[in-house]
């Protein structure tokens, strides 16, 4: 039963595995065009929906894979590293991140991809992330109360709403397919942007 580290593979390999998986992740992101800020923000202006297509396909593929592996007893999905859902800080943080996305044109993963192919705006964006982390950390004593508020624990959506995880994932996949179709129609109507 997974995860393979530390049971079957020695934890010393952890960082090697990290680099190898990182290379694969970076290769795919760059090949999908995620090193281009102008392609990424297309999803917010209707001229390129690559982010939506790649992101949802990836999330659903991984979810389906994990559900199968859980069913066969290869992993315990509930034991995998999820994050505690601290509802209010996540919503506020997410909206701030969304603002950063439309101003800066990257998110942290895509900015690192852009660094890999020499985009100077990617380097600067990463410097910005470090600045933001620094400011947050220094302000932490003030933010600590809010940071820990609204915690409902490390729950999954099906657990929280008491629904069947298989049906939930099927509905998410259906919503994604509808979104793929609708955005295709939107893109036909929106003025093309050259980049």
């Amino acid at each position: 039963m997974g995860p393979l580290i530390p049971e079957y593979i020695s934890p010393e390999w952890n960082n090697v595995v990290a680099i190898v998986l990182g290379i694969a992740f970076g290769y795919v992101m760059e090949s999908a065009g995620f090193s281009s800020s102008r392609k990424l923000v297309g999803v917010f202006y209707g001229y390129d929906f690559a982010v939506l297509r790649v992101f949802f396909t990836a999330a659903i593929t991984a979810s389906l894979g994990l559900l199968f592996m859980d069913y066969f007893g290869w992993v315990d999905m509930a034991a995998l590293d999820g994050l505690p859902a601290r509802v209010y800080p996540i919503i506020v943080g997410g909206i701030i991140m969304g603002l950063g996305f439309v101003i800066g044109g990257f998110c942290p993963g895509t900015c690192v991809t852009a660094i890999g192919i020499g985009k100077l705006d990617g380097y600067v964006f990463f410097g910005g992330i470090m600045l933001g982390v620094f400011v947050f950390s220094e302000m932490f004593p003030l933010l600590e109360g809010f940071y820990n508020s609204g915690n409902v624990g490390d729950v999954s959506v099906p657990e929280y709403f008491n629904i069947n995880p298989y049906w939930f994932t099927a509905v998410v996949a259906l919503v994604a397919v509808i979104a793929f179709y609708v955005t295709l129609q939107i893109r036909k109507k929106v003025k093309k942007v050259q980049y």
Partner: protein
């Protein structure tokens, strides 16, 4: 500009790329029990730097100090190695398709200098916001959604919701 417009068609089919990304994420969970990420590497770099420059200051702040718990070294965090891999992987892919060279990419409506200032500001907001959500688009939203985590779904909805909320005001930067 001509070079860029031709390159547009050499990107992979997004569903193919998404499928492969999902398989990589699945493997990551199966091998390590955790997901992929990115902003955590920036956090590790900041914490390590602050600790090196002002050790007592870092030890008195629980946000920094938590990352040293149990003799841990932030800079040897899993995500730091993963992000180094992402840079290498992107470089390989970009080199094979002739996209790897130094430049600033921006809309013709704005100058390079403006683009760099905006990238700094956007990055700062992203880095700040990611701390509240304990992760960014890859670590919290994508990896969280893969395990059907409530936090992951809320993070995804808030990031994209926030971006759509503000997109109109910054349209001149992009279109």
């Amino acid at each position: 500009m001509d070079i860029n417009s031709n390159k547009q068609h050499t990107y992979w089919n997004p569903y193919f790329a998404g499928f492969l990304m999902g398989i990589i994420l699945l493997l990551t969970f199966y091998i390590t029990g955790r997901g992929l990420g990115a902003s955590g590497a920036a956090k590790a770099l900041v914490t390590q730097t602050v600790h090196a420059v002002a050790t007592t200051h870092a030890e008195n702040n629980t946000y920094y100090a938590d990352q040293f718990k149990g003799g841990k070294i932030p800079i040897s965090n899993w995500l730091v190695f993963e992000v180094l891999g992402v840079i290498i992987g992107a470089f390989i892919s970009g080199s094979l398709s002739g996209r790897a060279f130094f430049r600033v990419q921006h809309s013709p409506n704005i100058t390079s200098k403006k683009r760099l200032w905006l990238a700094l500001l956007g990055g700062a907001l992203f880095g700040f916001g990611a701390q509240f959500a304990k992760g960014c688009t890859s670590g919290a939203a994508l990896s969280g959604m893969a395990v059907l985590s409530l936090g992951g779904y809320i993070t995804m909805l808030s990031i994209f919701g926030g971006a759509y909320l503000f997109a109109y005001f910054f349209r001149k930067l992009w279109i």
